[in-house]
Amino acid sequence: MTFAKLLEINFQGYFLCRIATDPDPTNEERGVSGYTMALVQEDPLDQVIRTQITPEFAARNLREPAERMGIRIGVDVTSVLFDGQPYDHGTAVLKGAKVFLEGRDDPFPGPIYDSRNNIVGSDDNMAFVVNPFELAIRNEKVSIRAVDYLNPSDPGQKIWQIEDPATYARRFPAFTPGSQAAQEAIRVFDWYAYFLDRRRYLTGRIAELERELQEGRGDPAELEARIQGLKTRIYQIEFWGDRFTNKLAFQLTYGFNVNGPQSFEGQELLGGQVDTTHPWPVTFWFGAWDGDLLTGWMQGTLSVPFLPG
């Protein structure tokens, strides 16, 4: 018996990435010349693509008004199909499971969009490799893991050591600058109004904090720092203009068959058998990038050869 038919595990949600952007060097921790930056009260920029965050991390790094906009960082499983049809048994087991991108790309403490300002990828063409690619899906019942190597003949090789980028070209995304799917995902279709609203909100917050300062409420140094941080956010949005707005409709679509280890613990709960010997196809996209909040949308499917019964 062969495993021709696929169990499709669909996931989606907001991610957060505290990324430095060209023309800042990729390892810039605060952000100066790029359009992204870490505010002084926040953690340094670390490039890491985070599909899940803790409340403590959110308290330090998820900027206002993200929560008021309904942005909750978390990429989760939304549905499961088998051979193109809803598979209720699988959905019952996997729906709500959390999707993680794991591993690290030293010196960065997690997976990143690797480009190094047009060296190993291209910032100009949005040719970013997600490096490393170690996809994990977990809940209390199951644990799924799929790993892809940049260079399967030398899995430990770093991207900057690979002399021929054709080796990992299969990991580059297709780039859609005006994606309908990205706009629909976050329900924003007027990019200019979106950032006009943001500037209005930030300006209002500055006025509120200045009132608190004048009335002697709160720690003056902390209030001053927050006011200046909000001014920096407005400065960046106005300074970069279109570089902010057009990224709201960006979509980077990835698709490849994973060439590394694959595992599926708890497969017996799905009512069938999973094939871990043949490469699993994975497709996903990142987009709807808000360079002020440092958030975006991720959506994708991990396809697992599956034999029910």
């Binding site: 060209d22 060097p25 002084v40 060296i119 980028p165 054709a166 001053e224 941080g229």
Partner: protein, 475 residues
């Protein structure tokens, strides 16, 4: 801002004279750029006891502005080289070393020679490497300022520190305070062009002369149009092909509009206006907190002799070697540029182009400069910064770009850079860092730039062999 001081002096009558003027412009654009970069790289990267969290946010914004203006000076340098290429001249990336005094920024003396010593005179603006402080940003405002009459007519704020008036002398510069007598900059102008006095304190007239020459001289566009380097519009820089009078005029207009705001729409954020606003905000913050210091204690006009810490000296020399390498890459690119669609093996032009801009500027030079800024110079007080020094041998090569035709020359230079970065990464960083807190930064920075330089060198060789790498192919 409307131009009200378009006095044309020393009209350009021949093509060689036009080339000499463009070389003057190229040299000044690069000299301004490296001064702005020096100040930008001196700015603090985290709050400290003399720069609190709120102040640091302003420092970050000022750094962003400085680096943007420096990028646009690079753009101006590239456009001037496009103008040179358009008229069949060689690229010009040579430059006289700083510190020096440019004749274009000798305000009072030349103003007096010109018989204009009435009430208000522009001040001398020395070209020096100085960390970011109030005098430095004030000097940058003056360097980008339109003439006094233009300012008055436009209603823009007048930077009073850029002009002397009865009872109001020019402010001293740090270089002058130290008693340095600045070398007078060389000029490419010869013969009758030298007899007409230069308008002080304005690059505007230099470009006006160049524009008039393009308008009036016949048969100028003898360059190969396919040799025009093109960089897509991004990061506030626009490098486009210059092939005829219309595109030459666009380039010249862009340069003076971005710099001084000449003929720009109302409210336009020229370099002058941006620097003015930074200085304004800085001055107000200093008034509230006189102890505020936004920058690291970099040496004034650093030289190799002053840097007694061997690690700092080796890093300093590596920076200059890397900077000269970048200029060689740019010269080779402009000399041998071929559009990608017209290339076949060997892909020399593509190999240089994919190295020159983002990679070398942001992932090699800036990180090394930032390492210098956090490294003890050896005098117990200062850190250091790059002085962008070009040796006589470097300059001889830049003035003869025909010799920059061999990929091995560039790869050999990268081999040396990678070797030096490897050695610096292995050094005792704790003994050389400005403070213990800077050690992790230095360690991370040197390791990362070593990796990036290795990958850049691989790319250069690989592109030379096979053409574009997959990441650079637009699908």
């Amino acid at each position: 801002m409307e131009n009200t001081t378009r006095e044309i002096r020393g009209p350009i009558k021949t093509k060689p004279q036009l080339i000499a003027h463009l070389q003057e412009a190229a040299e000044i654009e690069q000299q301004l750029m490296v001064q702005y970069l020096y100040a930008a790289f001196s700015m603090k990267k985290r709050p400290d006891e003399r720069c609190n969290a709120a102040q640091f946010e302003a420092v970050r914004r000022w750094g962003s502005t400085l680096l943007m203006v420096a990028r646009q000076e690079m753009e101006h340098l590239a456009l001037v080289n496009g103008l040179l290429s358009a008229i069949g001249a060689e690229p010009y990336f040579a430059r006289e070393n700083i510190p020096l005094q440019s004749p274009y920024y000798l305000g009072a003396r030349l103003g007096a020679e010109r018989g204009q010593s009435e009430e208000v005179q522009p001040c001398d603006i020395p070209f020096v490497f100085e960390r970011f402080n109030l005098a430095t940003i004030g000097r940058f405002v003056c360097a980008e300022s339109p003439g006094y009459d233009t300012l008055v007519k436009s209603g823009d704020p007048i930077p009073t520190w850029c002009f002397s008036a009865p009872g109001q002398p020019c402010p001293g510069s740090a270089a002058n305070d130290r008693g340095q007598s600045l070398k007078q900059a060389r000029t490419h102008l010869t013969g009758e062009l030298l007899e007409a006095p230069l308008h002080p304190g304005s690059i505007q007239e230099l470009y006006d002369n160049i524009q008039t020459a393009f308008d009036e001289l016949p048969d100028l566009f003898t360059g190969n149009p396919s040799r025009q380097v093109f960089v897509p519009v991004e990061y506030q820089i626009n490098i486009f092909p210059i092939v005829d009078l219309a595109s030459a005029t666009t380039a010249i207009s862009l340069i003076v509009e971005e710099g001084e705001g000449i003929d720009a729409p109302p409210g336009y954020q020229s370099h002058f206006r941006r620097f003015f606003d930074v200085r304004d905000e800085y001055e107000a913050m200093l008034a509230r907190d006189p102890s505020f210091d936004p920058s690291l204690p970099l040496l004034l006009n650093p030289s190799g002799e002053e840097i007694t810490n061997p690690f700092a000296r080796r890093t300093f020399d590596l920076f200059n070697y890397s900077y000269a390498t970048l200029l060689f890459v740019l010269s080779g690119l402009y000399r041998y540029y071929v559009p990608q669609s017209s290339q076949s093996y060997p892909f020399f032009s593509s190999a240089l182009q994919e190295t020159a801009f983002g990679p070398a500027m942001t992932m090699l030079l800036r990180p090394i400069a930032e390492v210098l800024a956090h490294t003890q110079s050896g005098d117990g007080e200062h850190t250091t910064g790059p002085n962008y020094h070009l040796s006589p041998e470097d300059e001889a090569l830049l003035l003869d770009p025909d010799r920059l035709d061999n990929i091995d020359f560039f790869l050999d230079r990268f081999t040396h850079i990678i070797s030096e970065l490897g050695a610096l990464s292995a050094a005792d960083l704790a003994a050389n860092a400005r403070s213990e807190d800077d050690v992790p930064f230095l360690k991370r920075q040197l390791a990362f730039v070593h990796e990036s330089a290795t990958a850049m060198s691989n790319n250069m060789r690989r592109i030379y062999q096979i053409g574009q790498l997959p990441q650079f192919v637009v699908t």
